[in-house]
């Protein structure tokens, strides 16, 4: 079963929930679990484990075209076909160049060129690493190269690291509702939306709910930091018939363990119990399929 943990608003506790589910499923439920950190711009799930890197680091690449000035006739067809304005051709100056930071590797320019002047070569967009977090699970993360705009491609590549022997795969999604989030949830069987009961949390949750309804993904909501803010979140969930999977209470002591990186070492009983309820509800969705 593939479960994506997403939010809309940043800082609601996606990684907190993803990491706890991963840890509790591995240790208490004896499930074979893999956590894939899809927040490739700032992967941080590994910080919660005393994890050792296992296996080699892979470099993920994209194909970048380059233009051979000896073959190029400066006809500008490739530049016109490029949807991303990544190709600059200035005929009088005999100038033709690809800007790798704008290129999305779509291959249109190769099709456009009638003179065989364009060839592709791989260029790194980020690194993929596997970790042993010490709980029998596997933790995989991708880290985007600074300046690269290819988050979505890198997310696609890190998801290819999913292992066949895993019963549960958890995707920790990036915040927001744009392409990287769509890519993360694309092949998930179920999406857990983590939110906080504040006006900001509600505003962004509404956007994410609209997105998931549009792409037809089943989802439920976990309210983190319950007890803060107001009750409008609860009203929204019941009006829209959205399942509340569980609530993680806001506890200052828990927040301070989190800040010390010791969140998983001392999970308070009531919080562990709440995660147990969430796990039972979510796993039941998988078996019902």
């Amino acid at each position: 079963m593939k479960i994506a943990v997403a939010s809309g608003k940043g800082g609601t506790g996606k990684t907190t929930v993803a990491v706890n589910l991963f840890h509790i499923l591995s240790t208490k439920h004896n499930r074979r679990v893999q956590l894939i950190d899809c927040d490739v711009e700032e992967p941080n799930a590994h910080l919660f484990f005393e994890s050792k890197q296992v296996g080699p680091e892979h470099t993920a690449t994209q194909l970048i075209p380059s233009i051979d000035n000896n073959k190029c006739t400066y006809c500008r067809k490739c530049a016109e076909w490029c949807e991303f304005n990544a190709i600059v051709v200035i005929p009088p100056a005999h100038f033709a160049e690809v800007n790798p930071s704008l290129c999305h590797s779509c291959g249109a320019c190769l099709m456009a060129c009638e003179y065989g002047a364009i060839t592709e070569h791989p260029e790194g967009i980020g690194t993929i690493r596997n970790y042993d977090p010490g709980n029998k699970g596997i933790l995989t993360e991708a880290r985007l190269k600074i300046g690269s705009a290819m988050q979505t491609l890198l997310i696609k590549k890190v998801k290819q690291q999913a292992m066949n022997d895993r019963e549960v795969i958890i995707y920790d999604a990036p915040p927001g509702t744009s392409c990287p989030v769509v890519e993360t949830v694309a092949d998930a069987d179920y999406v857990i939306l983590v939110t906080e009961p504040t006006p900001f949390g509600l505003h962004d949750l509404k956007l994410t709910v609209a997105l998931l309804r549009e792409i037809g993904k089943p989802f439920g909501v976990v309210i983190n930091k319950a007890g803060l803010g107001d009750r409008k979140m609860y009203a929204f969930l019941s009006q829209n018939q959205i399942e509340l999977l569980g609530e993680i209470p806001f506890l200052r002591s828990y927040a301070s363990l989190y800040a010390k990186g010791e969140m998983l070492r001392h999970i308070p009983d009531n919080i562990a119990g709440e995660y147990g309820v969430i796990i039972d509800k979510v796993m039941a969705k998988g078996s019902g399929r």
């Binding site: 304005n85 100038f95 704008l102």
Partner: protein, 107 residues
């Protein structure tokens, strides 16, 4: 010598546009004849690469100087490659006409 001034509208009474790649119009001033011509920036609403395309346009128009509010790194690289001087003015309350008169008076 030709100079481009980024403009929010299609005539000299328009306000100066602080944006380069996303400027609404480009005013091309011929400093010898003092004639100015306005070109609409076709790439003003591009999802990406507007600055590069604007820089490409400058090379095509054969200008040697561009006056705008700022230049992004990709546009800057290309303008530098073609020895086009970048002049920054950070005041969007002045009109294109005022900039033209500053340029022509300093001659």
């Amino acid at each position: 010598m030709k100079t481009v001034i980024t403009s929010t509208g299609n005539n000299a009474k328009s306000n100066f546009d602080l944006r380069f790649g996303r400027a609404a119009w480009f005013c091309v001033l011929d400093e010898e004849t003092k004639k100015s011509t306005f070109y609409r920036n076709e790439q003003a609403d591009a999802t990406g690469g507007a600055g590069v395309k604007a820089a490409e346009k400058m090379v095509e128009l054969g200008v040697s100087k561009v006056v705008s509010g700022d230049f992004g790194p990709k546009a800057k690289d290309l303008l530098e490659k073609f020895n086009i001087q970048m002049v920054i003015i950070q005041d969007d309350r002045i009109t294109v006409k005022e900039i033209i008169s500053r340029i022509t008076k300093s001659k």
